[in-house]
C-alpha cells in the first residue's frame, strides 16, 4: 500500500507514449517484476529443457520418420513406420490391447487401495511408524531383479497361491505366470502390491488437513463418512488428481515389471507385451530404432490427449487452495 508514490493522481507519460495513472503503472511494473521473477525461478528448468531434454526429444521425433538400426546412419522413410504400425503389425495391436487392460484395471485399484491405507494410517495408534514402513517396503523392491524369482514363487505352478488354493479345496495346477490368460493378472497384482509410494503421497496430503476442520465438522455432528467426503476429500482433490494422472501415465509407460518377470520377452505368447516393452524390443533387440521412435511419439500423442482430458475435467472437481 505504502509504496512511496506521491498522493497526487497526476497522469504520467509512459515510455510507450500512452497515458497511465500511477496505479496502472504500479500494476504494470508489478506484473513486469513478477514475470522477471518467474523467469529467474524457471532458469534451471529452462536450461535443463534446452540443453538436456528437448534436444534428445526432438531427435527422437526425427528418428520416428527414419529407418535406423543404431549401427549405421538413419535413413529417411517418411510415414512408413506409422503406416506399418497400424496395417502390418499384429504385435503392435496386441501390445496396445495389453496396455489398455493394464491401465484400466490397475490404476483404479491402485488409487482405491492407497487412499484407503493412507486414511487408515492417518490415525494415531501404536506401531504407526512401523506399519507405515511395512506397507511401504514392497514398493521399494517392486522393480528389483529379485522379483522374477519371487513372482514365480508365488504364482508358479507349484507356487504359494496354488498351494493355498489347494488347502481350501480348489485345485489350480497351472502356472499363473506361465499361462497366457493369467500372466497379465500377475503383473497387475505386482503393480497394486507396490502401492506404497502412492500411499505416501496421499498420506502427506491427508496430514495437511487442518485439525480444526475436523473438529468443526464433529461439532456439526458429522460422522466418519461425512468427515471424509466433506472435509478430507475436497482438500485432497489436487493430490487425487495428481496421483490419478501420474498413475495413468505410468501405467501406459509400464515397463520394468513385465521386463523382469517375463525376462524381456513379453510373457507367454505376448500376453504381457506392454507397449513400451514392445517398443524396447523393436528398438534394442531388433534394431528398428526408427520404428520404436514412431511408437514412442504415438504414445506421446495419446498421453497428451489423455492429460488434456484430465485437465479439462479437473475444473469440475479439483479445489485448489489458491482459488
Amino acid at each position: 500500500m505504502t509504496s512511496g508514490t506521491t498522493p497526487q493522481q497526476t497522469l504520467t507519460k509512459t515510455s510507450a507514449g500512452s497515458e497511465a495513472t500511477p496505479r496502472q503503472l504500479r500494476w504494470r511494473s508489478r506484473r513486469a517484476r513478477e514475470t522477471i521473477a518467474a523467469y529467474v525461478f524457471l532458469t534451471p528448468w529452462i536450461l535443463g529443457m534446452v540443453l538436456l531434454t528437448l534436444g534428445p526429444m526432438l531427435y527422437s521425433l526425427y528418428l520416428s520418420f527414419t529407418r535406423y538400426n543404431l549401427l549405421s546412419d538413419p535413413k529417411w522413410v517418411g510415414f512408413a513406420n506409422f503406416v506399418q504400425m497400424f496395417t502390418a503389425d499384429s504385435r503392435f495391436l496386441k501390445s496396445v490391447g495389453v496396455t489398455l487392460v493394464y491401465v484400466l484395471v490397475s490404476v483404479p485399484l491402485l488409487l482405491v487401495v492407497s487412499m484407503l491405507l493412507a486414511l487408515l494410517l492417518n490415525k494415531s495408534m501404536r506401531f504407526l511408524t512401523a506399519y507405515r514402513v511395512l506397507f511401504y517396503v514392497p514398493s521399494l523392491i517392486g522393480a528389483s531383479v529379485a522379483i522374477a524369482a519371487l513372482w514365480r514363487l508365488i504364482f508358479g505352478a507349484d507356487g504359494i497361491i496354488n498351494q493355498v488354493l489347494a488347502v481350501v479345496g480348489i485345485h489350480h495346477d497351472s502356472s499363473w505366470v506361465g499361462s497366457p490368460h493369467d500372466a497379465l493378472t500377475t503383473l497387475i497384482i505386482l503393480a497394486v502390491w507396490a502401492f506404497g509410494s502412492m500411499m505416501i503421497i496421499f498420506l502427506a496430503g491427508v496430514r495437511q488437513v487442518p485439525r480444526e476442520l475436523y473438529e468443526a465438522a464433529a461439532i456439526d455432528g458429522a460422522g466418519v463418512f461425512r468427515k471424509f467426503f466433506s472435509v478430507t476429500l475436497p482438500i485432497l482433490t489436487p493430490l487425487i488428481f495428481f496421483n490419478t494422472l501420474m498413475a495413468t501415465i505410468g501405467a501406459f509407460q509400464a515397463f520394468t515389471g513385465a521386463y523382469v518377470v517375463s525376462g524381456g520377452t513379453g510373457g507367454p505368447v505376448d500376453s504381457t507385451l506392454f507397449y513400451t516393452l514392445y517398443l524396447y524390443q523393436q528398438g534394442f533387440a531388433q534394431l528398428n530404432m526408427g520404428y520404436a521412435a514412431a511408437m514412442a511419439w504415438l504414445l506421446v500423442i495419446v498421453l497428451a490427449a489423455v492429460t488434456g482430458f484430465f485437465f479439462w475435467t479437473a475444473r469440475f472437481w479439483v479445489h485448489y487452495g489458491d482459488e
Partner: protein, 295 residues
C-alpha cells in the same frame, strides 16, 4: 475450501451408547492390519529367510525355515565383485544424496514459479513440462548417450547427477505445484503487504509449509536414484563406479552360475538404507509444520 459442510442441529454428546469397547476395536484393527501385512510381505519375508539358506537350497521350500541356516550368502555376497559391496553402497549413496539436493532445489523453484506466479507463456511452458513426461525413456536413451559421450561424461557420475540439478524430473515439479497450490493465497498476499519480495515469500512462507512435499520429493528421489539400473548400466562401465543395482544384477548369470543366495542377501541389505531414510524422512514429510499455524 470447506464450504460443503452444512450446519446441522447438534446431536447430544452423551446420548449414544458406545457400541463396542475401544480396546476391542483397537485389537481388531491391529489384527486386520497385521493380517494384511502378512499377506503383503510374505514374499519379502521369504526372501530374507531364503538368504540364510545355502544358495542351491533356496528354492527347495516355500516356507521360511531350513535345516541349515548359514550366513555365507552375506559374507560371500558382501565380498562379491571386484571390490566388495561396500563400494557399491558408497557409490549409490553419493549419487543419491547429490541427486536429492539437486532435485529439491531445482524442482521447488520451478514449482513455485508455476504455482504462484503469473507470466506470459505460463500455460505453454506448463504444457511443455507435462509433455516431457509423455515420451518413454527408451527412445531418448540413445541421443542422450551420444550427447554425454560427446561431452566426455561417460564413466563418470555426471550424467546421473547433473540432470537433477536442472529440473528434469517433471513428476516432482508437478507434485510440488499441486502441494503449493493447495496453500491459500492469503499467505502470499499478507507477506507481500509486509514488503516481502518473491524470493522471501518462497523461502520463508511457501517452503516451510510445503515441507511434506519436500519430504516426498526427497524420499522418492532417494529411492529412484538408489534403484536406477539403466543409467548406471550405460554410463558406469568401470566396476569401481558401480552402484548397487548393477552389483545385484551380477548375481544372476543366465550364461553361467547364478547366485540367488547372494542376490537375496544383498537385496535385503540394500533395503536397509531406504527404510532408514524413510523412517527419518517420514517425520518431515508427514508432520510438516502444524497446520494450525496458518499465519
Amino acid at each position: 475450501m470447506i464450504s460443503t459442510i452444512q450446519a446441522r442441529a447438534p446431536r447430544p454428546i452423551f446420548g449414544r451408547k458406545q457400541s463396542t469397547n475401544p480396546i476391542i476395536r483397537a485389537v481388531v484393527r491391529h489384527a486386520l492390519i497385521i493380517c494384511a501385512l502378512v499377506i503383503l510381505l510374505y514374499p519379502l519375508v521369504w526372501m530374507v529367510a531364503a538368504s540364510f539358506r545355502p544358495s542351491n537350497q533356496i528354492f527347495t521350500t516355500l516356507g521360511l525355515f531350513s535345516a541349515h541356516p548359514t550366513l555365507a550368502n552375506y559374507t560371500e555376497g558382501w565380498g562379491a565383485g571386484r571390490l566388495n559391496f561396500s563400494r557399491y553402497f558408497i557409490n549409490s549413496f553419493l549419487i543419491a544424496i547429490l541427486s536429492i539436493v539437486g532435485n529439491l532445489i531445482s524442482c521447488s523453484v520451478t514449482a513455485y514459479a508455476f504455482a504462484r506466479l503469473n507470466f506470459p507463456g505460463k500455460k505453454f511452458l506448463f504444457a511443455m513440462l507435462l509433455g516431457t513426461m509423455f515420451l518413454p525413456f527408451q527412445v531418448t536413451l540413445v541421443p542422450q548417450y551420444i550427447m554425454f559421450n560427446y561431452l566426455g561424461w561417460i564413466n563418470t557420475y555426471l550424467p546421473l547427477i547433473v540432470p537433477h540439478w536442472f529440473g528434469v524430473n517433471a513428476f516432482f515439479i508437478f507434485l510440488m505445484v499441486q502441494f503449493i497450490r493447495s496453500l491459500p493465497r492469503e499467505l502470499d498476499d499478507s507477506a507481500r503487504l509486509d514488503g516481502c519480495g518473491h524470493f522471501r515469500i518462497f523461502t520463508r512462507i511457501i517452503m516451510p509449509l510445503a515441507l511434506p512435499a519436500i519430504g516426498v520429493v526427497a524420499l522418492f528421489s532417494f529411492v529412484w536414484s538408489w534403484n536406477d539400473f539403466l543409467g548406471p548400466l550405460l554410463y558406469l562401465g568401470r566396476s569401481d563406479l558401480w552402484t548397487v543395482p548393477l552389483g545385484l544384477k551380477a548375481f544372476l548369470d543366465s550364461t553361467g552360475q547364478s547366485s540367488y543366495g547372494g542376490l537375496f542377501a544383498m537385496s535385503t541389505l540394500s533395503l536397509a538404507p531406504i527404510v532408514g531414510f524413510f523412517i527419518l524422512a517420514q517425520r518431515l514429510l508427514l508432520e510438516g509444520i502444524a497446520t494450525t499455524g496458518l499465519k
